[in-house]
């Protein structure tokens, strides 16, 4: 009965704020990260370590521990993202902290190794970390720039609807091909058997498909359709109209796939290299203690 209903007692994070992850909580994590970096820089300049700054001084160990802790915590995002358990947190706040603290690693780690590089596992860990960070920077650029293009390109269509649309054009194209001659029919047949998901990752990322059979068929059929004297002129016109619709639909969907690929590609570096980084980091830490 309603006497037990206490109403909105639980805090709901739902509509609390509408700002992007970068600006989350008034740039809280940017500020924290900047403070951390500044602190590291200042102390590096002020603290005098004998004989010189290095990873194996007490100061180096401190920064090293902070850095390693950060890396492990940053990697934890992969788990957190897939496990949205109830609680007073949002993934957005995690990503915000991830991005800004991740950037501070550039300074923390560089100062930790005190600019000592070489052909060894220590530098390998550093390089891997930089790869992860650089891919992350690409990621936030992509996340800031691309979504609006993705949205504008798809309008009110979903990806499934785009594919449906393509299939329905294909069915019409199939019917329209019947009255055409062998040669054109084979040409169009190639367009029909072409899968929009085919093509290399590079083609998808750059949205260039020079050997597109639909495009080839369109060029040939529309050229043939210009000749009004042949007896199947009307069929040719119809086929070329359908082909031109298919070209438009294809370019729409390819642009969609291109944008999605550009939004995702960096994760294929960011995540696997994270695993490599953790392996290298472990080797780095073990070797340091081993030689100690």
């Amino acid at each position: 009965m309603a006497s037990q209903l206490s109403g909105n007692s639980k805090k709901r994070l739902g509509g609390t704020s509408h700002v992007s992850f970068l600006k989350h909580a008034d740039y809280r994590w940017l500020k924290i990260s900047a403070a951390l970096s500044a602190l590291a820089l200042f102390s590096y300049a002020l603290i005098d370590v004998e004989p010189r700054h290095s990873g194996s001084s007490w100061y180096g160990y401190t920064l090293g521990t902070i850095g390693a802790g950060l890396i492990l915590w940053l990697a934890l995002l992969g788990y957190k993202k897939r496990s949205i358990k109830p609680g007073q947190w949002t993934l957005k706040s995690w990503v915000s902290a991830h991005v800004w603290l991740g950037l501070s690693l550039i300074i923390v780690a560089t100062l930790h190794c005190a600019f000592q590089f070489g052909w060894n596992v220590h530098t390998l860990a550093y390089v891997l970390m930089m790869i992860v960070i650089v891919s992350g920077i690409y990621g936030i650029c992509a996340y800031t720039i691309l979504p609006k293009h993705l949205s504008a390109n798809r309008g009110d269509m979903t990806q499934a609807e785009m594919l449906d649309n393509l299939r329905s054009i294909d069915r019409q194209l199939h019917d329209a091909t019947q009255p055409l001659g062998m040669e054109l029919a084979t040409l169009i047949g190639e367009s029909l058997s072409n899968d929009p998901f085919q093509g290399s990752i590079l083609a998808r990322l750059t949205n260039s498909y020079p050997d597109c059979p639909t495009h080839a068929a369109f060029v040939t059929v529309s050229a043939a359709a210009k000749d009004r004297s042949v007896d199947n002129a009307d069929d040719l016109v119809r086929a070329s109209q359908i082909l031109s619709r298919k070209v438009a639909a294809l370019s729409n969907i390819r642009r969609h796939l291109q944008l999605k690929a550009q939004l995702e590609i960096w994760l294929y570096f960011h995540v696997p290299v994270t695993f490599a980084l953790i392996a290298a980091l472990t080797a780095h830490v073990v070797s340091v203690f081993f030689y100690w």
């Binding site: 309603a2 994070l13 739902g14 329905s168």
Partner: protein, 797 residues
């Protein structure tokens, strides 16, 4: 059928007249393999026929076998077209011309009704059909579907789906557009027409039907096309006409009204009894129990206790004072004003749906701001309504017999005041659907509720220490008006000065600036409008139009002016509200002169949202497509926090200016989905969410009822292995909704399909998972009152 079986057991002379050639047509027509549910589970089945949850086929088989073994006398293909005579000597006329004599008649014809027939010449030819059972079984035919509602379109698409069937399908629609059909169906139909699979004739009617042709009256003249089969889907006429022609009265003219019945199911036509869905009991178990009971009653067993007796007993068990079920029912009926005119049968029904509880002095019944749309009645004792949010000593007492909570009932919005028991009391809480049924069936209840709710709504709205006596003449002058979506109640430039209170729905306020309508503000149910012209005089300065179908209370301007003169405090209050509104207007006008396209943008985004039905939402998911990276983490999180099924479709839905309204429940103020749920499984919960409980029988009514297509019918997939197993060893399908293939392989094929929809993550700490899972902050859930700020944010960058 259950009645006939009882009669057979008792050795009474009986005959079961059935229109079709099989028993239980409604259930026969369920889709193949449907899992039929046996709710309410606490109700025991009392029938000579068995019934338990299971597959449609199995249930029908059981009934056929038992009807035969119990010697139930059935006469198939015997549609009754008229009933004449009186008790002891009824004459039932059948469609085939025969007449049957009977002493008593039990009407259990359900609510399906008869399909509207083809009236043109040739409409009675055998190839004119009114139903299509299996579209895939029809090959190589010319088929014309008449009527382009959902049923017609689905049939036409089904027939044309597979080119291998080589059917030539046409569909005929009387009007130019397909206003009666769902958007998705219309889209699919137009697509099919473009592909040449279906031919559409709009603004066309059938002229005559010949053996293998049909003649159509099109806009451009007569057209004769080959046709071997006609499928007429022109809606159906409810059986009410037939029932009334038998002399049976309904409780009111409302479409939802049911026949008036005595406690033994006897209608106003003596000797004719009404049971089942037609009597207002749409669940199979109820229907079967009533079949048993009614025959017992007719047989003279008047002491039979209804099968719901134990449920009622349990309801009353916690109350103080030992009374029998009948005594309790009687007490409630005589004490509570609005129940006084109910029959004992109706009383039982409403009590079954309701909660009766005992509260001690000082107990809080509900709090201000809590969601809830049920209606409370004081059966004993009294309560205090704390009308002021700040001072709990300002109270309005409500005594024995009176109702409260009706504002939530009408507007579906949150409770407007806290209610505390003033002494030890007994309260009856009638859930929204029950209360609406009560209002629809008993006209006096409707009048009483309307009056009280207007009075209370005004008191609450204007507060300022008014008493019911103060506003008596304003209430007297009040008029409830329903407004269609888009219609204006106030137009800019008019000279009227009446005040309007929005009771149901919501309104938008617009002003014409430079020839364009500029959106000024949004008014949810429970707000008032029109005070400026009354207080300051002059013409209306803005137009107020309904965002969705709404209901307003119109208060006579003169009566209201009188009230203001008597209550300066009220005048002050209105002036404060008015000043805020003027500020908003002024702000928007200054914006207009500085950057005109910005304010255009602002009002067009606002009207886009309103056009997408957000005017009736209480909480809606929006996605800022400038931030959404399409990762679908929102859908995955939704699935993972809810039995593995996502309740939102991110990509689908309309987008305007990068603001996207995905397909996800809006928790409507007046949920359409609730309207027709047989087990009454859809409720509004603690956080204002509309949710479906476990008693869902999977009938799909809610899915058809929701205009936003957010309800899906699906099986709950099996449990997945833990996330770490997937991360480390790749076992299981990973986060999000498992693929259909995986679910099929690991799931229970017998699991029933149920209605699935968003529950706003109620009960989960932190709130909506979809919002919390969005890495970029693109997804937000907000209430319409917050739109302004979002729209403004949109234009900000």
């Amino acid at each position: 059928m259950s009645a006939a079986a009882r009669a057979a057991q008792l050795g009474m002379a009986h005959i079961l007249l059935e229109k079709t050639d099989h028993l239980s047509d409604t259930i026969f027509r369920y889709q193949k393999g449907k899992h039929v549910m046996a709710t309410p589970s606490q109700l025991v089945l009392r029938s000579d026929m068995d019934f338990d949850a299971g597959k449609r086929e199995k249930i029908l088989q059981t009934w056929n076998d038992q009807a035969a073994s119990q010697n139930v006398l059935v006469r198939y293909r015997s549609e009754v077209t008229a009933i004449t005579g009186g008790p002891g000597k009824f004459e039932l006329k059948l469609a085939d011309g025969d007449t049957i004599n009977a002493e008593a008649v039990i009407l259990a014809i359900g609510t399906q009704g008869n399909p509207n027939l083809m009236r043109c010449p040739g409409g009675d030819l055998p190839h004119v059909e009114y139903q299509l059972d299996d579209p895939t079984a029809i090959l190589d035919e010319h088929i014309t579907v008449v009527g382009a509602g959902d049923a017609g379109i689905e049939n036409a698409l089904g027939l044309a789906a597979d080119p291998e069937q080589r059917n030539v399908v046409s569909i005929v629609n009387r009007s130019a557009d397909f206003s009666r059909a769902k958007d998705a169906n219309v889209k699919a139909l137009t697509a099919a027409a473009e592909e040449g699979r279906v031919t559409i004739f709009t603004e066309t009617s059938t002229n005559r039907i010949e053996a293998d042709h049909i003649v159509l009256d099109t806009r451009d003249g007569e057209l004769r096309i080959p046709c071997n089969r006609i499928i007429a889907r022109m809606g159906s006429a409810p059986p009410r006409g037939f029932v009334e022609s038998c002399g049976i009265e309904f409780s009111s003219k409302d479409r939802e009204a049911f026949p008036i019945l005595s406690p033994v199911f006897e209608s106003t036509a003596a000797g004719i009894f009404v049971i089942g869905a037609l009597a207002g009991y749409p669940l199979i178990k109820h229907c079967m129990n009533q079949g048993y009971d009614v025959v017992e009653f007719i047989n003279g067993n008047v002491d039979l206790k209804p099968a719901d007796e134990p449920i009622l007993e349990a309801k009353f068990r916690t109350l103080p004072g030992k009374r029998s079920v009948d005594e309790w029912l009687d007490l409630l009926r005589t004490q509570i004003d609005i129940l006084r005119e109910l029959t004992p049968l109706q009383m039982r029904e409403f009590t079954l749906d309701s909660d009766v509880s005992f509260v001690r002095k000082g107990d809080v019944v509900f709090e201000r701001g809590a969601p809830g749309s049920s209606l409370f009645n004081v059966a004993q004792g009294s309560v205090h309504v704390q009308v002021s949010p700040t001072d709990s000593s300002i109270i309005v007492p409500i005594g024995t017999g009176a109702m409260f909570g009706e504002v939530g009932l009408i507007s579906g919005r949150k409770r407007g005041a806290t209610v505390v028991a003033a002494e030890d009391s007994i309260l009856m809480e009638i859930p929204r659907t029950g209360a609406l049924k009560l209002i629809a069936t008993v006209p006096t209840v409707k009048r009483a509720v309307t009056r009280v709710s207007i009075e209370r709504q005004l008191l609450q709205l204007f507060k300022a220490g008014l008493s019911p006596a103060d506003i008596a003449d304003v209430v007297e002058s009040a008029e409830t008006i329903s407004v269609r979506a888009g219609d204006a109640i106030i137009s800019e430039g008019d000279e009227s000065y009446d005040i309007y209170v929005i009771r149901v729905g919501s309104m938008v306020v617009e002003r014409t600036i430079g020839g364009k309508a500029v959106f000024l503000s949004y008014l949810p149910a429970g707000s008032y409008v029109g005070e400026m012209a009354l207080i300051e005089g002059g013409r209306r300065t803005a137009t107020v139009r309904a965002a969705v179908k709404s209901e307003v209370i119109k208060l006579n301007g003169d009566a209201f002016r009188g009230l203001l003169e008597r209550n300066p405090a009220l005048l002050d209050r209105l002036k404060v509200d008015m000043a805020t509104r003027k500020d908003v207007n002024a702000h928007i006008e200054t914006m207009k002169s500085t950057f005109s396209d910005v304010s255009d943008m602002y009002s067009s985004v606002a009207s886009f949202l309103v056009e997408n039905g957000i005017g009736e939402a209480t909480d809606v998911l929006l996605i800022d497509e400038k931030l959404c990276v399409g990762c679908d983490n929102c859908e995955k999180a939704c699935a993972d926090s809810h039995d593995g099924l996502s309740r939102l479709d991110r990509e689908a839905g309309k987008t305007y200016a990068h603001l996207h309204v995905p397909t996800s429940c809006r928790h409507c103020e007046h949920p359409h989905c609730m309207a027709d749920c047989p087990p009454n499984a859809i409720h509004r919960g603690i956080d204002g969410e509309v949710f479906i409980d476990d008693t869902c029988i999977g009938c799909g009514n809610c899915q058809r009822g929701c205009p936003y297509g957010v309800i899906r019918m699906d099986k709950v997939p099996p449990k997945k292995p833990p996330l770490l197993n997937w991360l480390l060893f790749g076992t299981g399908p990973g986060p999000g909704e498992p693929s259909a293939k995986w679910s099929k392989k690991h799931g229970n094929p017998e699991a029933p399909k149920k209605a699935i929809k968003c529950d706003m993550c109620s009960g989960l700490e932190g709130g909506p998972s979809c919002v919390r899972a969005c890495p970029t902050g693109a997804a937000i859930r907000i209430s319409p009152e917050q739109f302004l700020s979002v729209s403004q944010m949109q234009k900000g960058d």
